[in-house]
């Protein structure tokens, strides 16, 4: 399968890339690693005549901590994020990035591409919702910071203006006593998750002082539920409590019945994943060395 013909551009700077975007407008597509875009081009989904390849732009693949914020360049690959030293303090990053597809895709695919595609089953939109990430968008008139929940407005739809692109992801480093986890159920490694759940907890003197939960592949956009999180706050986290929080967040999810499973199957799976992620995160809050991986059919 070949993509339809297009003109190829490889700008040497971010400014040049934005210049090309403003020149070609809706005829242009930005390509980072191409792991979502190339399959779409081969399937001839969408119309595009100008391909702007930014994969090798320098200064956009950093992974570094400045103050209490982790800064991840949009072109950092899933593989590099999963193995980055700074990701150790946020285990969710390791499990989210390291669980995307397979080694081949993780070596090319980028976090900036992953959020910009805004696939309802994508891993980063769910993981970053848990981490309260902010995205730095760069366009003709400069930059702006947008939260991940404001960035993704619908399935495959972001708030990006036509001359804008994601240049950095900013993640607050959680306080001591925090732990996070991300677990997906997948039919096979290269497939998108059938269902996924992410969680970050902060525990002080055995009492939960902060909680973030999100579900993936469970609605057009990542599902968050402040009421479910509130159930955990001020209490000692137990399996029963995690089950009630899972019940509450799954109640507001709208998992679509499809070839991956019925709605009832997906709801049951999501509940299980929330509890499992919660238990892993809780162990990490306590400083335990908790390992874990996705589940494969």
């Amino acid at each position: 399968m070949y993509p339809a013909p297009f003109n190829y551009h490889r700008p040497q700077s971010l400014e040049a890339a934005i210049g090309l975007l403003s020149r070609y407008g809706d005829d242009a597509s930005i390509m980072a690693g191409g792991q979502s875009l190339i399959p779409m081009l081969k399937m001839r989904v969408g119309e595009m005549t100008e391909l702007i390849d930014i994969r090798k732009l320098s200064d956009l693949d950093h992974i570094e901590q400045r103050g209490q914020t982790l800064h991840i360049g949009a072109l950092a690959t899933h593989a590099r994020i999963a193995s980055a030293e700074v990701a150790n303090q946020i285990p969710l990053l390791r499990e989210c990035g390291g669980g995307i597809a397979d080694r081949q895709v993780r070596n090319m695919g980028t976090i900036g591409g992953g959020v910009s595609v805004a696939d309802p089953s994508g891993d980063w939109p769910t993981g970053l919702a848990v981490l309260d990430a902010q995205l730095l968008l760069t366009g003709l008139s400069g930059t702006r910071l947008v939260s991940i929940s404001d960035f993704i407005v619908d399935a495959y739809t972001t708030c990006l203006e036509s001359c804008e692109l994601v240049t950095e992801i900013q993640i607050p480093v959680p306080p001591a006593g925090s732990g996070s986890a991300y677990v997906a159920f997948k039919r096979a490694a290269p497939a998108y998750p059938t269902a996924s759940a992410g969680i970050q907890l902060t525990v002080k003197d055995n009492i939960c002082t902060a909680a973030r939960l999100a579900l993936g592949a469970a609605a057009p956009v990542a599902v968050v539920c402040r009421d479910a999180e509130a159930l955990l706050l001020g209490k000692e986290i137990t399996t029963e409590l995690l089950e009630s929080a899972a019940e509450a967040i799954v109640a507001v999810a709208e998992p679509p019945p499809d070839a991956r499973g019925s709605e009832a199957f997906k709801r049951a799976m999501l509940r299980k994943l929330v509890v499992e992620a919660g238990q892993r995160a809780l162990g990490r809050c306590r400083g335990e060395d908790v390992s874990g991986a996705h589940h494969y059919a």
Binding site: P3, P5, Y8, I38, P190
Partner: protein, 162 residues
């Protein structure tokens, strides 16, 4: 319907030899390797980034060449299955695949070998679980995984000894 006449020049090192070709930018890397360079060891399986038969190494990293444009490898260093054999001697992985019947129809083998090669470079002594994860992006439709895993394990041990 838009039509484009654009051609671009790409240059890359493949298995140690430098190649330059003028191509349409939509040319996939796997097509470039097979059709332009005549290196047909790299296979096209699913052509949808699922099966891994087209796995090659680009700049030291395992990738799927059906989901990479040739222009993305411009200026890069590519290794394919043809580069494994050195001076007429099979790579330890190739010998181990032969010895342990790590292939049946052989279609997935070039991708499996490249996946195994990069896995052993990153982790020279993988356990069974790590081997399985290392080839998770490579599908064998003969379902001959047991012998593939045995072969990778045996090659790892041979390479440790030498």
């Amino acid at each position: 319907m838009h039509s484009s006449e654009q051609k671009v020049i790409v240059e890359m090192t493949v298995n140690g030899a430098l190649y330059q070709r003028e191509i349409e930018p939509r040319t996939l890397l796997v097509e470039f390797i097979r059709e332009e360079l005549g290196l047909t060891g790299t296979h096209i399986g699913c052509d949808t980034s699922y099966c891994g038969a087209c796995s090659i190494v680009l700049d030291g990293l395992l990738i799927k060449s059906c989901t990479t444009l040739a222009v993305q490898a411009d200026g890069g260093v590519v290794e394919t299955v043809e580069g494994l054999e050195k001076d007429g001697a099979l790579h330890p992985l190739q010998s181990a695949f032969s010895e342990h019947h790590g292939l049946q129809c052989g279609y997935c083998t070039p991708g499996m070998l490249m996946a195994a090669k990069t896995l052993l470079e990153e982790n020279p002594q993988p356990d069974r679980d790590q081997i399985c994860k290392g080839i998770a992006g490579n599908v064998c439709r003969c379902t001959g995984y047991v012998n593939i895993i045995k072969a990778v394990d045996a090659a790892a041990k041979t390479m440790q000894e030498s």
